[in-house]
Symmetry: C2
Subunit: 149 residues, 2 copies
């Protein structure tokens, strides 16, 4: 399934305040995720100031943030592929493995996929690709704020 409407733009208005991906947060990053095939993809070019301890490498905290928001979107798609007002997921746990440095100044691609749905919980696995290589991977446990319909 491919959609031109960002998953975050379908979130209920009262849950669209996220600094990372909320359309109603005027000072936020406004990350957008889209269903592409059987994955959920977020493309984002971080500001150059978001370096890590090593110059020219991206800040790990930002990488975790990107995984966080894209994982929530993937969980939403897993239980509501095309619902107009889908359930909003929050993060119960997030594990990020930083496999190699992520360069700054390039567009990042995050790919996420729900691998298990258990009641209100969805397990999401992700990878971050930059300059043609996988730089980090993540596993998230997401929990729906609203009961599955």
């Amino acid at each position: 399934m491919t959609s031109k409407i960002a998953i975050q733009d379908r979130y209920p208005a009262q849950h669209a305040n996220c600094f990372g991906c909320g359309r109603n947060n005027p000072g936020g990053l406004h990350l957008k995720s889209f269903a592409e095939g059987d994955e959920v993809v977020c493309r984002y070019t971080p500001p150059l100031q978001c370096s890590g301890g090593v110059p020219d490498s991206l800040y790990g905290g930002l990488i975790a943030s990107l995984f966080d928001c894209n994982s929530a979107a993937a969980a939403t798609v897993a239980v509501s592929p095309d619902g107009e007002v889908p359930p909003r997921f929050v993060t119960a746990s997030l594990k990020v493995d930083f496999l190699k440095p992520t360069p700054v100044g390039v567009t990042l691609e995050l790919f996420a996929k729900a691998i298990e749905v258990k009641g209100r919980k969805v397990i999401v696995e992700s990878r971050l690709v930059a300059a043609g290589e996988i730089r980090a991977s993540a596993q998230a446990v997401m929990v729906s704020l609203t009961a599955k319909k």
Copy 2:
């Protein structure tokens, strides 16, 4: 040991560019960590705009970022309690458990402690306290950029 000099202010200049905690990043958060007793503590009041998907709850990505920087500081202290130019650590993996919502508009306290040193790797465990309760915990695997002296 208690020190009034922030651990990040002892990092080598070429590794002090972190968006989260680098003194040389003009647009960064300038997080500061201090050794207090046998732990490393970072206190920080996030901007109100850093909400998560649920209004009045803090953005999980920011929580991960705070754990990331404070864990690096704890690893530094573990191998170099008072070195003038200590080794800089970067994150190999970070797992965050979000135990309950973290309120916005309050000062957060992050406590970190190195529980194991294995060659260039240091394992750090952390907790985040806000409004008197533990809101999140984390385990990080940190790796030194420079050989232990």
